[in-house]
């Protein structure tokens, strides 16, 4: 009973905040609604007993990805009225695309109604094995190559991002902490007794 109520609460909030993400006029509000949607989706994961996925969703998407989104959106000064000005010029291709997506949804529903594709049944997760352990056993045995390929793709993306944004600037004098620590008074201070009117030569 409570589960059903909570499911409808989360599901309604996911859909409502997804709609608000699109409709909000202010881009920062959009991102915040998106975060609420992520959060409620994590709640849905919890309800089906996938607590590991739920917390991963919160840690990765809410805790890191959305923060960076918010970071970027807050600093951009986007005038949405200007962006929307020429909107009606594109009605034909956009309608075509929307029709295509609608067709896809209908086809998917029909296929699902007709019985869908039968997937070979997998061995069920044994009792008293926690979510994380079951996931680890699947990832590090059956899907190990896919998992490692995903890691390599992420590495390539990271290297690509660094190469694209890194620029060498001349004339900067970064702090060299090792050099600072090695320095002692003997290298830095010289005691002198200049005569009157003579000054010091460095």
């Amino acid at each position: 009973m409570i589960q059903v109520a909570v499911f409808y609460l989360f599901a309604t909030l996911v859909i409502a905040s997804a709609v608000m993400t699109i409709c909000a006029r202010n881009p920062v509000h959009s991102v915040l609604w998106l975060i609420l949607a992520f959060f409620n989706a994590a709640g849905l994961f919890l309800l089906i007993g996938a607590e590991f996925l739920a917390f991963l969703l919160v840690i990765v998407y809410v805790g890191a990805v959305a923060v960076l989104f918010l970071f970027v959106v807050m600093m951009l000064n986007v005038d949405f009225a200007e962006l929307r000005a020429g909107f009606s010029n594109y009605w034909f291709p956009v309608t075509l695309l929307a029709g295509l997506l609608l067709f896809e949804i209908i086809v998917a529903l029909v296929a699902w109604d007709a019985g869908g594709i039968t997937i070979a049944p997998r061995a069920p997760t044994p009792e008293n094995v926690s979510n994380i352990e079951a996931m680890g056993q699947a990832i590090f045995t059956r899907y190990i190559f896919v998992f490692e390929a995903a890691g390599i793709i992420l590495l390539v993306a990271m290297v690509g991002a660094i190469v694209l944004t890194h620029r060498k600037r001349g004339g900067v004098r970064p702090q060299n902490i090792r050099k600072q620590i090695r320095r002692n008074p003997k290298d830095a201070v010289v005691n002198m007794q200049p005569g009157v009117g003579q000054g010091v030569e460095l």
Binding site: M1, L32, F52, F55, I59, G63, A64, V67, M74
Partner: protein, 350 residues
């Protein structure tokens, strides 16, 4: 207690009622503890600066925090004209709520935990990653320069240190074999020569304990990493435009977070509710006292650092997070998992 409520309210509502009462049993003492800990912080800080600190309200100034609380409660809440009203008020609420949420999985004694979930550590990571939203939203919604700078600093700082905190936790999880906080505490019983209840004294984990302590200072934006509210540069940082209760919520949330980080240090590395030495007479002291003693010890260290260490420069903060802590903790993940693999295969003599 849950069973007793369920006996006369039915399965679902009994659970609901007992959970709400348990939440209040954690949240109200926590608020009291936060008020007292603010007083302790000010006293320690004053003593290290050879001052007296709060000593007027109540005996030894013990009631100072309550007087301050009453004062801000009676003040007017000022909302700047150009602020984004809804988000401006939402931000302190988020900070405060998130600071309380994390306490749901903290075990105070064996079996004394609101939600003994088997992914407790992940829950803590998830909740602590939400803490940054209060600050970012406050900075942006104030529609003012300094709070916005502060919000950007906070976002970068918390995200950077969360990465290395995540890696620091992995060796602990590998040693304990579980994500559950109670399981981690129980795994520390007699960890060193069957006598000392602490992961932190394990030579493989001691460096991680030190790095975790420093990273938790950075994660809670305490001195020397309090660049988000560096008064010489940013007035009061993201709180500049806040007044009365909305400011007090930030303040309470911040100290609740500090206490949480102290509790995490105690639970993950120094044996949680277990006495420091695995010796039978020490177990007559209830575990909750050991946990409180450890939390207070860490809080003293936090205050001590605040009173003595000068503030970092922002680029030094980023360097420490990304170029020092991240490589070391990443390397330690390999080291510890390698050690555990060899040990489990019986290839090591000890």
């Amino acid at each position: 207690m849950t069973a007793w409520f369920q006996s006369w309210l039915g399965e679902g509502f009994g659970y609901f009622a007992s959970t709400i009462i348990l939440i209040l049993m954690i949240a109200l003492p926590l608020m009291l503890a936060v008020a007292m800990v603010i007083y302790v912080d000010r006293k320690i800080w004053a003593a290290m600066a050879l001052r007296k600190g709060p000593n007027v309200v109540g005996p030894f100034g013990l009631l100072q925090s309550f007087a301050d609380g009453l004062k801000v409660f009676l003040q007017e809440t000022i909302i700047p004209a150009s602020a984004n009203r809804g988000l401006f008020l939402l931000a302190p609420i988020i900070t405060f709520t998130v600071a309380l949420m994390a306490w749901a999985v903290i075990p105070f004694q064996e079996g004394w935990v609101l939600a003994d979930i088997n992914v407790g550590l992940l829950y803590l990571l998830a909740v602590s990653s939400l803490g940054v939203y209060g600050v970012i939203i406050a900075g942006w919604a104030s529609n003012s320069k300094y709070p916005f700078y502060s919000a950007l600093r906070a976002a970068a700082q918390m995200v950077s240190y969360e990465v290395s905190i995540g890696f620091i936790l992995i060796p602990i999880i590998l040693f304990a074999g579980t994500f559950s906080l109670s399981g981690i505490v129980l795994g520390q019983q007699g960890h060193i020569f069957g006598a000392i209840n602490a992961y932190g004294l394990n030579p493989l984990l001691f460096p991680m304990a030190v790095i975790f302590l420093i990273a938790s200072l950075a994660e809670t934006a305490r001195a020397p990493f309090d660049l988000t509210e560096a008064e010489s540069e940013l007035v009061a940082g993201y709180q500049t435009e806040y007044s009365s209760m909305s400011f007090a919520l930030f303040w309470l949330g911040e100290y609740a977070n500090v206490l949480l980080m102290c509790a995490m240090n105690a639970i993950l590395f120094w044996g949680g509710w277990l006495p420091p030495i695995d010796w039978a007479p020490l177990y007559y002291v209830p575990g909750i006292f050991w946990l409180f003693a450890k939390i207070l010890l860490f809080f003293f260290i936090f205050s001590w650092v605040k009173a003595t260490v000068p503030r970092f420069r922002y680029d030094q903060l980023m360097r420490l997070g990304w170029k020092v802590f991240l490589p070391i903790s990443l390397f330690w993940v390999f080291l510890v998992s390698g050690y555990i693999m060899l040990r489990n295969d019986g290839l090591l003599p000890w």
